[in-house]
């Protein structure tokens, strides 16, 4: 069954133009992605075991996904043996229903959350608010975009598109609404201290915590959460009720497997050997225990994931949401996450969004937001064949006749020419003859028909006279043949 993903339904050209006009976003996103991409390279260089660990982690993830159902059954058994409850959710709607039911059964009024892409996928906050439950994001970046009523622009750094002045304005508004002291300045430390103070009240007042999950260990029934801020520890330790919503593909068969994968999100995501906090939940608080939730619910979300099982796209289920493919993608660095229109942006979003929804939403992603430069394929620590998949998705779209007729015709026409050296040379001669009407200031600035769109945002040098091929033919080419 196809999954449901929330989308920005504005057409691609609108999303694109908005992104290209947002200079603040471009500046911050370029800084953040470069910094993190460099940190990843530095971390692997300084950690000789890192590469071997990474390869082993790929094996663990692949094998775990292969027998996913079996492992999920063991996981459920283990969690229930240790006081927790496991719910399976086929769709986003099922998951929302389950979470709201738990909240309703306990008369929950205040929820605190860790950062979780799955709950973004569900738009869980909106669901809570629609039934009058206050919900607070506690990851600093998520807190910022919650105040701004926006979606994350980066899997790992949700507020990477905002600068400090914008954030100070949001915090000032929040302080006024909650009658508390606003941040002392737009200094980044002052802003962080404001969030610490404000969110501290929310941590202590909440009656339910909601988390996502980085890994699930079947053998021990353990949920693993990775943060740098420490908010997951608050969310799992303080409120009496804990709900963890996790994608089924997060399952790892056994404890030795966990030890192989546990460093990967931090190593490839932010260039640390481990994040500041790794939090493991393996059941409810025992009768003799002081800490841990009284009640723990794990919601295992499918939402289109098992559609990918036993297909050439199965490796996508190994994704650990580290964001490495986003950080190196030249398109992502220009347009940021919002332009994709999906909760999952960047190369992984291009691949996952159509696959999870059976091409029902945003089918343009593989065609328009990738240059096939292959940087994502090199960066992915889980060896997911992102560039290969993007090509395959384009092929599926063509086979299903999903591209506009004009586009398909143009490409077919173009392909016919460039499939042979003779056709290529002929097309170049024609282009040289035809370009005279379109060259301004020594560059081709426009073109007729469908090709015109290409020149909306760029130009190109005219066809040379003679071309390299012609020159070669006339000079050295001749010499060699004799």
């Amino acid at each position: 069954m196809a999954g449901q993903l929330p989308i920005d339904s504005r057409p691609w050209p609108v999303r694109r133009d908005q992104a290209l006009q947002d200079k603040t976003m471009q500046q911050t996103i370029q800084f953040v992605t470069r910094r993190v991409a460099n940190a990843k390279v530095a971390a692997y260089t300084a950690y000789p075991e890192g590469e071997r660990l990474r390869q082993r982690a790929v094996g663990v993830k692949r094998r775990s996904v292969e027998n996913m159902e079996e492992h999920l059954a063991v996981f459920a058994q283990q969690v229930e043996a240790h006081g927790g409850q496991v719910h399976r959710a086929k769709t986003a709607a099922d998951a929302i229903r389950t979470v709201l039911e738990v909240a309703k059964n306990h008369g929950v009024q205040r929820v605190i959350k860790t950062k979780s892409m799955v709950t973004e996928e569900l738009e869980l906050n909106r669901a809570f608010e629609s039934v009058g439950i206050a919900v607070r994001e506690t990851d600093l970046g998520e807190y910022i975009i919650q105040l701004a009523h926006e979606k994350p622009s980066h899997i790992l750094a949700p507020a990477a598109h905002k600068n400090r002045a914008q954030i100070e304005a949001l915090f000032d508004q929040d302080a006024a609404a909650y009658h508390t002291e606003p941040p002392a300045s737009d200094d980044i430390l002052a802003l962080t201290q404001y969030a610490r103070r404000r969110l501290r009240e929310e941590f202590l007042a909440a009656d339910m915590g909601v988390t996502g999950g980085n890994f699930l260990v079947a053998e021990t029934g353990t949920l693993v959460l990775i943060t740098n801020e420490g908010n997951a520890d608050m969310v799992t330790t303080l409120p009496p009720i804990l709900v963890s919503v996790v994608g089924v593909e997060k399952i790892v068969a056994d404890w030795p497997g966990l030890t192989e994968v546990i460093q990967q999100p931090a190593l490839s995501g932010v260039g640390q050997r481990l994040s500041s906090y790794t939090t493991m939940v393996s059941g409810t608080r025992g009768t003799d225990q002081w800490e841990g939730p009284d009640e723990w619910h794990v919601v295992l979300l499918d939402n289109g994931r098992t559609l990918l099982k036993d297909t050439p796209f199965e490796d996508v289920l190994s994704c650990i949401r580290c964001g490495a493919c986003l950080n190196v993608c030249p398109v992502f660095r220009q347009v940021g996450g919002h332009a994709y229109g999906s909760v999952y942006p960047g190369p992984i979003g291009i691949v996952e969004t159509p696959l999870l929804t059976n091409f029902e939403v945003l089918p343009e992603l593989p065609s328009v937001l990738c240059t096939l430069c292959h940087a994502c394929g090199e960066a992915c620590p889980m060896d997911i064949d992102l560039p290969g998949h993007i090509v395959q998705l384009r092929k599926i779209k063509r086979d299903r006749h999903m591209d506009a007729a004009g586009v398909t015709r143009s490409y077919r026409w173009w392909a016919r020419f460039w499939a042979t050296p003779h056709g290529y040379r002929r097309s170049i001669r024609w282009a040289r003859w035809g370009q005279r009407w379109f060259v301004r200031h020594g560059r081709i600035q426009s073109a007729p028909g469908l090709a015109g769109g290409w020149f909306n945002t760029r130009d190109m040098p005219p066809v040379a006279s003679p071309t390299f091929h012609e020159w070669w033919e006339r000079t050295r080419g001749k010499g060699h043949r004799s």
Binding site: F31, D233, Q263, S276, Y277, S282, T284, W290, E291
Partner: protein, 204 residues
């Protein structure tokens, strides 16, 4: 032993690279002095003003350590032992407030990992996570015998212990540096939700 010393040095290098502080007591007699100076250095640096209240629990090998006696003289520090055994809900609420109002958490540790500079804490009837959670300063007393070569070795140890115990601790936490974020303009800031400053006193 050369091996433990190498592990201790590696752990120290990693932990300090993350922004943590490491102090070393070469024998148990020196521990009170080293702890007092570590505590003094950290509170003076990170909390130069205001009252000081410590919430603590210690590993069994230090059950005779008189924390009140060691720290009481430093800016009138109050020490409160993190309770043990069973509890009622009402008591937990009160404890939560108390923890939120304290400035320093002092805890033992289950183990540490040299390769990543991590320290592991378990929730159990006698050991807890709350003192590592809410206070601005967290100091860990770590017996150097507990330092494992790698985080994988530590996790293996946790697994073996859980097999004898019959279950995993409900909560386990690996601490690898202070609480931090780079969520605003990609700039690193220390001390978001958890401790701003974290120190380890390694003793033999």
């Amino acid at each position: 032993m050369i091996e433990t010393e190498a592990l201790r040095n590696q752990f120290q290098r990693q932990f300090e690279a993350l922004g943590g502080h490491v102090f070393y007591a070469s024998n148990s007699e020196r521990l009170p002095v080293v702890l007092a100076s570590a505590y003094q250095a950290m509170v003076d640096r990170y909390l130069p003003d205001g009252p000081l209240q410590v919430v603590y629990w210690l590993n069994l090998d230090l059950s005779v350590l008189d924390l009140e006696g060691i720290l009481g003289g430093i800016r009138g520090t109050q020490c409160i032992c993190w309770p043990q055994g069973s509890r009622q809900h009402a008591v937990q609420e009160k404890w939560r407030d108390l923890l939120a109002e304290s400035q320093v958490g002092i805890t033992g540790a289950a183990w540490a990992a040299a390769d990543t500079g991590s320290v592991a804490l378990y929730s159990s009837p006698s050991t807890g996570l709350l003192p590592s959670l809410l206070m601005p300063i967290h100091i860990i007393l770590l017996n150097q015998k507990r330092i494992q070569p790698s985080v994988s070795d530590g996790l293996k140890k946790l697994y073996q212990e859980s097999e004898t115990q019959g279950r995993m601790p409900p909560l386990v936490k690996l601490i690898t540096g202070p609480s931090m974020t780079a969520d605003i303009e990609g700039q690193l800031v220390i001390g978001v939700h958890g401790p701003t400053a974290i120190g380890v006193v390694v003793y033999e």
